[in-house]
């Protein structure tokens, strides 16, 4: 069955109920997921994009058998994440990342030895596999240092090393580059790509649109527990206002000028942002009718005005989607 998706989510909801206080009990209910549907092809990398609290981690935990859905169902490798968790656990990997989740007082190697044993990696292969995986994440030189001495980026790499040590078929990466400097983040993305070429199916969550754009042919945008869009990168760009974005920058615009720009033909949206003394108007265009020159003409009397056209980035699309949801 080559067509069966590696990950298949149907109508998954998740409700968190918590009680606080002893005498005066306070109930809080959070609907972290409100009916999520998703399908990820085997051997592909799928991006799950969403702002804080959108429900990304919740979904990843459900798919990796760490959390039960309140309703709906999810299958990974054709197996139900609740019913068949025993079958799934050795075949999936989870990288939650962050400062926690590692034994800080022992070395990186001992952390991996422990998890290698929990995953039943054959004793004879263990040391070689650990060395190979440490090499792959570029931690071999620090293998015998205590994890508490590690930088954030090194810890993140160790998290990934643990996640791939048992060679999972499906890997869940929850914000794998959060808190990394640009160089480490780039290395991490390179590593992610190399895993895909090994045939691993990856579901990756991120806040960074460019990261999703760079890594993931297909993307879903999650907002307040719902998927508000899922498509290819090109498809997502089309989804909101076509493919054109114009930016006009000068030392301040008044409301009348912003209105004038908004009334230009084909303009679907104008966002105004301050950059120090300068203001930038970002225009989203649904048609080719308006050119940069037209915009300049609508903003007369600014000696320092610059207008340029740029490619609509996924970030523009993403912000639109998440904002629309917020209204």
């Amino acid at each position: 069955m080559p067509d069966t998706p590696a990950i298949e989510v149907r109508g998954v909801t998740r409700l968190f109920e918590s009680r606080k206080g002893f005498l005066f009990r306070e109930h809080t209910r959070t609907e972290a997921l409100r009916g999520v549907d998703l399908a990820v092809r085997s051997g592909s990398i799928y991006g799950l994009l969403g702002p804080n609290g959108a429900g990304k981690t919740t979904l990843v935990k459900i798919l990796s058998t760490l959390l039960l859905p309140t309703s709906g169902s999810a299958r990974v490798l054709g197996h139900d994440v609740v019913e068949d968790s025993e079958w799934l656990r050795p075949r999936i990997g989870l990288v939650l990342g962050g400062e926690r989740g590692l034994y800080n007082r022992v070395s990186a190697r001992d952390n991996l030895r422990y998890f290698a044993d929990l995953y039943g990696i054959p004793g004879g292969e263990r040391e070689a596999r650990i060395a190979a995986v440490l090499e792959r994440v570029d931690l071999l030189a620090a293998a015998d240092r205590r994890v508490e001495e590690f930088s954030r980026g090194m810890k993140q790499k160790l998290h990934i090393a643990r996640g791939i040590l048992h060679r999972p078929e499906v890997l869940f990466l929850d914000e794998p580059t959060i808190g990394l400097d640009p160089k480490s983040a780039r290395e991490t993305r390179k590593l992610v790509r190399s895993l895909v070429s090994d045939g691993v199916t990856i579901l990756l969550t991120t806040h960074y649109m460019f990261e999703a754009e760079e890594l993931c042919p297909e993307i879903a945008v999650l907002s307040k527990g719902r998927i508000v869009a899922h498509d290819t990168v090109a498809g997502l760009r089309q989804l909101v206002g076509g493919d054109r974005t114009l930016e006009a920058e000068a030392y301040g615009f008044d409301d009348r000028e912003v209105d004038a720009v908004r009334r230009l033909p084909g303009v679907s949206k104008v966002v105004s942002e301050e950059y120090g003394p300068r203001t930038r108007l970002t225009l989203r265009l649904r048609s080719l009718q308006t050119s940069p020159d037209d915009v300049a003409a609508a903003l007369p009397g600014h000696s320092e005005l610059s207008v340029r056209e740029r490619r609509t980035s996924l970030e523009d699309v993403y912000l639109d989607l998440v904002e629309e949801e917020a209204h």
Partner: protein, 269 residues
């Protein structure tokens, strides 16, 4: 969908990995053993003074009581603490997410605590010995050692069950404190059970170490009067209760896991 073969999980290897990790973590920070030794050492010295001159085996008695106190404290506190620590470190999630049933990881942690409790017991022994000036009389040293290990295993079974509470909720300190007190008094590790009011006996009997310890006293202290039924029934009782604890623990852990997966607070601390 084609899926690759996955290795079979070896429970004993998982348990020894967990034991090894506990040992490594202990070696990284070994001084915490000291505070947990103060009470048993003081108790050992008091018992020594109290029973001094009351027969040739008073020393064994004092050492056994204090040693057990140390071992029990270490097992109970240590087991809860190990899981509390996993919560704190955020390592409970990846551990539970691994294919090894969590109870085997806990078993490794508990075994380490029993071993560190044994180290504590050894320290008590040395201190009381230094105070007494001569080694205690033990009629059957080999049997004593065998039975001692047995007592430790019965202790481990209790430790496992208690640690389930820590997986269940992060608010288990209360259970822990009550459990410790009930154990000290109930099992007669401080006083022989027969000295306690009769109503406490049924409570004492639900702890496997009560039986094992009673058997140990029969062996180590000639003339000891414990439970009326004597040495072998004590052993049988210990085996049976330990088996029940282990059986309960494995189902309890399954349920506890389901509970935490539905609540979703594995990473809270």
């Amino acid at each position: 969908m084609t899926t690759v073969e996955v290795p079979r999980i070896s429970r004993s290897r998982a348990t020894s990995a967990s034991l090894r990790l506990s040992f490594l973590m202990f070696m990284a920070d070994p001084q915490w053993l000291i505070p947990s030794m103060i009470a048993p050492v003081v108790f050992g010295l008091v018992a020594f003074e109290l029973f001094r001159g009351s027969g040739p085996y008073y020393l064994t008695y004092a050492i056994l009581g204090a040693g057990m106190m140390s071992m029990w404290g270490q097992t109970l506190y240590g087991s809860g603490w190990a899981i509390g620590q996993d919560r704190e470190f955020g390592t409970l999630e990846p551990t539970v997410q691994s294919p090894t049933p969590y109870v085997y990881v806990v078993l490794g942690r508990v075994l380490w605590n029993v071993i560190s409790g044994l180290i504590g017991g050894g320290i008590v022994y040395l201190v009381v010995l230094a105070a007494a000036g001569s080694p205690p009389a033990v009629p059957d040293p080999v049997g004593f050692v065998v039975l001692f290990v047995f007592v430790m295993l019965t202790l481990a079974s209790v430790g496992i069950l208690f640690s389930a509470a820590w997986v269940y909720t992060r608010y288990s300190g209360f259970i822990q404190n009550v459990g410790e007190f009930a154990f000290y008094v109930g099992t007669g590790c401080m006083f022989p059970v027969v000295l306690l009011p009769f109503w406490t006996n049924p409570i004492a009997l639900i702890f496997p170490p009560t039986w094992a310890l009673d058997a140990l006293r029969y062996l180590a202290i000639p003339g000891y009067v414990g439970f009326g039924w004597g040495f072998w029934p004590d052993i049988a009782g210990a085996v049976a209760t330990t088996a029940i604890y282990v059986a309960i623990a494995s189902t309890v852990f399954k349920r506890v896991e389901l509970h935490v997966l539905s609540k979703g607070d594995l990473s809270d601390y």
